[in-house]
Structure formats: structure tokens, C-alpha cells
Amino acid sequence: MGFIAVRVDPEKIEKAEKLLKRKIQGIPTEYIKRLTFAIDKVMGEAGLYSEDLAALAIRQSLGDLIEASFMLRSFKNTIRRIGYSEPSDCREMRVIRRISSAFKDIPGGQILGATRDYSLRLLDDSCDIENEEGEKEVISEEHKVTFDGKLPKVKDYLKDYLETIDEENTKESLYDITKEPLIFPNPPRSAVLQSLTMGEEGALLMLAYSSLRGYGPVHPTILELRQGYLPIKIKHPVTGKVVRVGEIRATECEVISQEKEKLKIGYGLVFGFNERKAISMAILDRCLQVKDGTPASDEEFVLYHIDGVDAMGFVEHLKLPHYIFFASIIDRIKKVNK
């Protein structure tokens, strides 16, 4: 058996694409847009907030979500970036769901919202939507009455116990990882948080889980998890005034963790509704500040490997011909085993 070199034939590439395209035909993008969690995963990992484009990418990738993130992220690099938004305060979020597992009741109340957490995972071919709409009304009503659109954070009430996050760290200017490379050791906190929020959900989940199980330093409590619509503001290019340009769906999580004699906070914020990822991010943020030598707290290990687009590309590149490399290895093996 010899090795067959793959002949370069442009037609073959087109034929391969055609085989896939045929499968995509007839899938309406409108339906895909309603698969919120798939859309949100893709927007998050691509680092581009567009439900329409995410739906298009998911359709084109036939539901291969990492592939869709990949396409969306590469598309992002065709758009001119005209500026940075002002820092968002999640207290201003129009909250549709908000819970704390650290306290029984919290100022503003626990808002269960739409969740599967307490559903029995029994396969069901009927779908009862009657109750849903009623619930939504109750939620917004309750929330408006008490806090007039600005819901305080649970952590505001814990000031006595909390060590404040290093002010210098949070005040430093933004380090944009889509324009500058990650530098080790000690990448800026903004770079760490960006890497985490654009990381692949499954990778974050696995690493956060490893810490919970004992292969990492952090076993936290969810101080607060909130979901809703976050206003995005920019400085007006002419007047210089801060103006609201729209809102995005987002999930924010703050975990609180006992470290020695102190309580510390880990932070997660992700595009769309993705609680699993927001919680995982908050755990890893905390782990990366502890640095105890475990995989989940090793900044190089975590930040180099959580990117789904990087990882899928490199793992799948193994499908490219490697016969020069392999022949060379065979040569060495033959020599040694002669």
C-alpha cells in the first residue's frame, strides 16, 4: 500500500460544496432564528451580536455550531469597527430573570422567568404555551413597581464582607483581543474576560466543572445571575453626549467563593441567554485569579484552549494531507527499528 497524493482539482471542491448545499436547500432561516440558544451560542463565540447573521451561519453549517461561530467570526472581520461603546452597567438591564442562590430573598426579589431548571426532562411532542405569557406580565409588573428600571445588585448589600476587586485592574483601558494578541504571563483582566466570553461554551463548561469537582480551587455559590436586555450606549461623535443606540440580550453572573478567610467574586457576562456559559465564565474568572497550579487556574492552559474556532481549526487541519511529514517519520522509525 502506498500513499496517494490528493490531486488538486477545483471541480472536486465545488462538488463537495454542492453535496452540502443540497442538504441546506429548503431550510428557512426564519425558523432557525427562533432557536434562541443556538443563536446565542454562536453570537457569543463569534463575538458578533446579530441574530440574523447567526441564523444564516447556523443554516449554512447545517447546525454545526462551532462552524457557524467560525463563519460569523470571519465575517466580523469584514466590517469596519467604528468605535467602542461606553461601559455598560448591568443594573440598568431590563431584567426578565434574576436569581440568587446565596440568599433566600433579595432586594428586588428572585425572578424566576423563563427557565428549564425545574422542568422534568420528559420527551413531549405537545407544547403548552398558555401559561408563558401570563408569567411574563407578572414579572415586568413586579419589577417596575419596586425599582423603576434599575435593579440593584446583590453584591451591593455585601460590601462589609467583600474584598473589592482591584480598582486599577478595572480602570485600565480596554485591551481588545480582536486587535491585539494575548500576552503571557498576566494578560490584562479585560483580555481575560474577553477570551472567556468568546470561548467555546463546552470548553468553559468542562474546565469550570473540573474546578467544582476538586481539580481546581473554586467551588462557589451563585451570588446573582441575571438575564435581560442591556442598553448599549456610545458617545455621540458630534455632540460628545452619551446616547443609547439600542440594547442586546445578555446574561450576567456573579459567583462568590470562599478563599481562605475571604469572600471573593468571579464575573461572567455573555451575549444572549446562556446561563451555563455565564456561570462557567464566572467560575473560571475566579480560578484564574487564584492560580493554584490546577488546569482550570492555569491562565495559559485555559485561555489558549477555550477558543472553539482556534481549536476546531487546528484539530480538523489533521485532515489535510500530511504525507511529507509522515514519510519523514517513517524514515526515522525504519532506521531505528532495522
Partner: protein, 286 residues
């Protein structure tokens, strides 16, 4: 859809009951079992649920609590599944229940002979604090080598003057096995010692069952000159029923003010209604 009585098939229940018997025969020892995928996410009580469903008979009366409360979402949800698939009677009355599934609390009301408390357990391995590898911790249990656990406590005391373990406080069962007590508060630890009831612990994700049979010695890890301590509840009382000698939850009001309420909702209700409640007698007070 028609489900078998108590959801699981009879063979599965039989296997789990066998594992429970082994766990009862070797108090505090973790018995591996083939944990099934339940229709709720792991970490929500699938291990304890499998135990509850496996030991359930049609005559049983089931109570489910989470954080001490019957009305918490997770408790209601578990109860819903148990009721839906078995049709057994459910209750909020601690005294009336024959099986109580719980997350993070042992009721304030004393459990009597014949009652079974099934505890939801996230981390069955008490040595995980000090040793990551399962292969190593199994060996440590076999050799009863718990020096690292004591060392952990000792180092805590040396550095901070206190043991910093809040919940999941490790205990020695029957002078033999070190056991994780699940995230119950330290307040509840003394109740495990020489109790009249049976305690079963189910860890679904980690696939372990363990038990503390009735009238078994259970001692928290401590030193002669640094005794085990429960949470300090002194000077606090329940805003609803006025009880002082109970485990209390801190609640923050909208104006930022704090108040306290009983964590055990059934106990609180009984006190308010003037019903006499028998308390655990073997408790330590802060």
C-alpha cells in the same frame, strides 16, 4: 405515557436497594452504583431521587425539602415527579412523612424510628478537599489514612484560628470511615450521631450511595483543644415564629435591612400554630 411505579424499572430499583443494603452494612462507606439518567439535570438531586424511588412503597408518605423548605422550586419539582410516577401521598409534615428527601438540611423536628432521611449529595468523597485523585482517596479509605484531613483542619486553625469549613463538614462514622455530610450546615451535624432514623446519601453524578444507620456513632473531625463548632445563631430570632434555637436564614429586604427566618418551613409553621414539636436532644449549641 405510562411509567412503571416510581419511574424506574424493577431491576434498577433492585440493584439500588442492594447497594443501599451494602451501604447500611458498612456505615459511612461509599458504595458505587450504576446511576441512571433521570429526567432532571445532574446536581438537582438525581442520586437521592433514585434512592427515594427505589425504596418507595405504595404505603409511604413522602416529603421533599430544599434548604429546609417544602415550597422551594426544586423540592416542589422533585415531589411532582415522585407523585406523578408513583401516586403516593405527599406531605409537608415532618412527623407524618416516612421518607424525607432533602437538600442541605436535616429538619429541626426530631426524626423517629422508622423514618428515612434521603440526603442529596453533590460530593460523596470527603477527602476531595485534600486529594484530587479517586484512585488515591480509595486507598486512603482502605488504609484509614485520614491524616491529610486532620492536617487540613490543623493548618486552618494555625493560619486563621478557626476551621473554615462551612458546610460538608467531615465526620468519622462508626470509628471507621471518614464521610462527607453533604452541604448541610454544621448546625445539623450532631443530629447524625446515634439517631433513631436512617440516613441515606445519594450522589447521582458521582455514582455513589452511602448511609448512616440508626444508633450509629458519628463524630465531627475535631481536636481535643479545638472542638467542632456549629453556626453562631445567638441573639437572632425568627421574624415569623420568634424561635431562637433554630437554624435561621438571613433575608435582605428591599431597603437593605436584614432579618431572619426559620430555614425549616414546616417547623416554623408548627410553632406559629402552637403545635408541639419534639426537638433533637443530642445537639451542640453555639
Amino acid at each position: 405515557m405510562k411509567y412503571n411505579f416510581a419511574y424506574l424499572d424493577e431491576d434498577t430499583k433492585k440493584e439500588i436497594r442492594r447497594k443501599i443494603l451494602k451501604a447500611v452494612a458498612i456505615p459511612g462507606h461509599q458504595v458505587p452504583f450504576a446511576s441512571r439518567v433521570m429526567p432532571l439535570a445532574k446536581g438537582f438531586g438525581t442520586g437521592a431521587l433514585q434512592i427515594t424511588l427505589s425504596i418507595l412503597t405504595k404505603e409511604d408518605v413522602v416529603k421533599v425539602i430544599d434548604q429546609g423548605r417544602d415550597d422551594s422550586m426544586n423540592a416542589l419539582n422533585l415531589k411532582r415527579l415522585i407523585k406523578k410516577t408513583s401516586g403516593v401521598e405527599t406531605t409537608t409534615d415532618t412527623a407524618k412523612a416516612t421518607i424525607i428527601q432533602t437538600r442541605h438540611r436535616i429538619p429541626e423536628e426530631k426524626l423517629r424510628k422508622g423514618q428515612i432521611l434521603v440526603l442529596q449529595c453533590p460530593f460523596p468523597e470527603p477527602l476531595r478537599w485534600v486529594e484530587k485523585s479517586e484512585a488515591k482517596t480509595r486507598k486512603m479509605h482502605a488504609e484509614m489514612d485520614y491524616s491529610k484531613a486532620y492536617l487540613y483542619l490543623y493548618e486552618n486553625i494555625l493560619r486563621y484560628g478557626e476551621v473554615l469549613i462551612g458546610t460538608r463538614y467531615p465526620v468519622i462514622v462508626n470509628d471507621r470511615y471518614l464521610m462527607d455530610t453533604t452541604p448541610i450546615p454544621r448546625w445539623d451535624i450532631p443530629k447524625l450521631n446515634y439517631a433513631d432514623c436512617l440516613f441515606l446519601f445519594g450522589a447521582g453524578r458521582e455514582k455513589r450511595i452511602y448511609a448512616v444507620p440508626p444508633y450509629t456513632k458519628v463524630e465531627p473531625l475535631e481536636f481535643e483543644d479545638h472542638k467542632f463548632r456549629v453556626e453562631d445563631m445567638s441573639g437572632k430570632r425568627c421574624a415569623l415564629c420568634g424561635s431562637e434555637d433554630v437554624y435561621l436564614d438571613e433575608v435582605i429586604k428591599d431597603d437593605g435591612q436584614k432579618y431572619y427566618v426559620c430555614s425549616d418551613s414546616n417547623f416554623c409553621e408548627k410553632v406559629r400554630r402552637g403545635i408541639k414539636v419534639e426537638r433533637w436532644d443530642n445537639v451542640i449549641r453555639s
